[in-house]
Assembly symmetry: C2
Homo-oligomer: 413 residues x 2
Amino acid sequence: MSTDLQPARVWDRCEHLARCSEQADGLTRVFLSGEQRAASELTLDWMRAAGMTARLDAIGNVVGRYEGERPGLPCLMLGSHLDTVRDAGKYDGMLGVVTAIECVHALNARGKRLPFAVEVVGFADEEGVRFGSTLLGSRAVAGTFQPEVLDKTDALGITMREALQRFRLDPHKIGSAARSRQEILAYAELHIEQGPVLEAEGLPVGVVTAINGASRFQFEIDGMAGHAGTVPMNLRQDALAAAAACVLAIEERAKRTPDLVGTVGRIDALPGATNVIPGKVRFTLDLRSPRDGDRTAAAADLKRSFSDLCAARNVRLNITPTHENRTTPCARWLMDQFATAIAADGLPVRELPSGAGHDGMAMIDCADIGMLFVRCEKGISHNPAEAITLADVEIGTRVLLRFIEQFAPRASV
Amino acid sequence: MSTDLQPARVWDRCEHLARCSEQADGLTRVFLSGEQRAASELTLDWMRAAGMTARLDAIGNVVGRYEGERPGLPCLMLGSHLDTVRDAGKYDGMLGVVTAIECVHALNARGKRLPFAVEVVGFADEEGVRFGSTLLGSRAVAGTFQPEVLDKTDALGITMREALQRFRLDPHKIGSAARSRQEILAYAELHIEQGPVLEAEGLPVGVVTAINGASRFQFEIDGMAGHAGTVPMNLRQDALAAAAACVLAIEERAKRTPDLVGTVGRIDALPGATNVIPGKVRFTLDLRSPRDGDRTAAAADLKRSFSDLCAARNVRLNITPTHENRTTPCARWLMDQFATAIAADGLPVRELPSGAGHDGMAMIDCADIGMLFVRCEKGISHNPAEAITLADVEIGTRVLLRFIEQFAPRASV
């Protein structure tokens, strides 16, 4: 199979998009910004050069369409997002858009039409940096955009409604960005892994099983502050020692269940002096799993064991749930088709969950979803040090193209 | 034995001293301040009213002398400090000065002279708040005052030398405050416990065995920051999980040795975001014991076990010693005489170490030292909530007076 793919073009386009940035020495591109306008214009041009019709939809997503064997067929929708976090890497999001365009470019170069249309979407907002609300682009496409968020303001006090108008979009028409389940055969996204699993196993690509659900909690332990020299060990109510036991309990519990991860990212001990026993400690827990049952069971176990160990240490425990997000499973039939496309490259098929969130979390409301992960260096992401190799771009794009060409809609659809 | 002691006068004098403060709604009184001047004047007056000659020495200590059966005899030196921490309690330091004056007052009221002189010192600086150097008053008396500290500056940039001059003291004459071992039969101090042991055991007073030596360390653990969702548990180098294991190892090790205490008072996890695995953690260790061998053995054990557990977790450990202070033992013969005085009150004799530092740490260079602890509420100190009871003041002062009256100099001295 001659692919006509040009991985160097994918690479150059990622570099090109990275220059659409708030700052000269790094990459920040937020929703409805001038930088987003510039990135969108580039993407629209590339889509058209690849043989697609292309447009901005009502929320600012870039949408390209490559018709199938006849006009108006349901589509296989590909894509990812074009917005970034602050001081971002060049591949999180953009790689999925640019590789999808490259695949259509290759099809078009061969004049190949498929028994379905192919659409490529560059979502205008996934990261939620500007308005603190994520997945705005994919929610609009899935028809789950909540009009209340139009009242959210950015750091300058500009509402999303006003920002849309300044971007020459009509906030009243966002509903028109929504697509029906009948129009979309599946949503498939290529994305960098943002984790170290593929690298650790020497694999360029992997098949995502699910976008992990997440639970977050804030814990506060109240003990008794005291003089580090004068309070004997047996009379202490050391909030930090109790928190340390909780941190280790989290680690131990997470290790016991496959794919479960638990992280304490923040800890504050008060009053925070070398010679004072901490009287109060606050810490967070971020718990994720590709299986909701595993996650909720672990959360329940941990809350119980924290309560027990705090009681035994005569300190008080306060638990505040701060976030809850269900698991977004990838469709088995799409996983299987990605697996076939990987195996055809002579590569082992590694299935792995996605610990990070993606547009598929919104798109699942209008389509079955599938994801292909591409290895990234050390799992680093949301960071200027985000890195991939040209060789992996080539493999990833080739696998994606094979997936598209061999795509078979789900029988029952 | 009629004691003629007036505990209510002790109480009122503590209240009175507490009003010599930088701020109206709390107590702060630092070295060479106007507030110290005021407190010194009060103390000098009370000393004279108790039948003592009284003066400021060359560093600003208040020194009162009650002659013995004939003038010029060696003295039993009593005392504590008159300076405070910021936002202090009313008893840490002051109670030892005021109760000692009360005891002399009682002796004088009865016209009782002893076969030795009694001196009472109100040290001008123990806490070291103003110039960041502690025990300045007692070091001057012990002859170990380091002239280099005269160049230290306060928050306003005023040197200690200049501050002494403004207080009408001559920095060149500090040496004249020094007393010889021949002049001092013993140094004995009454102080609040600043810990919860006596309260927990229902005892008003206790005999101090030693002022604990202390070692302090700063630890830094370098792991690998990573996405809380994407890095599987087995690929993590979580600096906080490693630090938590260290915190529990400290607790476990300290519990194994009597009187040893180990405290992690500060911990900082970086970058400190809910969804990021901590890549770097800094924490402190404060380790104290009344036996230097116990303390250094525990420090060595902990350093070894931290190294092992950090190696097992594939994180790097950096250790910086930040402070080292040897144990100051109380003299057995003085402990015994305090014990006799306590037992004569019908009370059990509880011996306990002092976890906090005291003027005895300097005075040991010119005299054997002994200390009597008085119970304080919940062990709270260095805090406006520092609290004692009038009943305990009465018992403590009575025991101190009995100790003075029955004091027998060490045979070999």
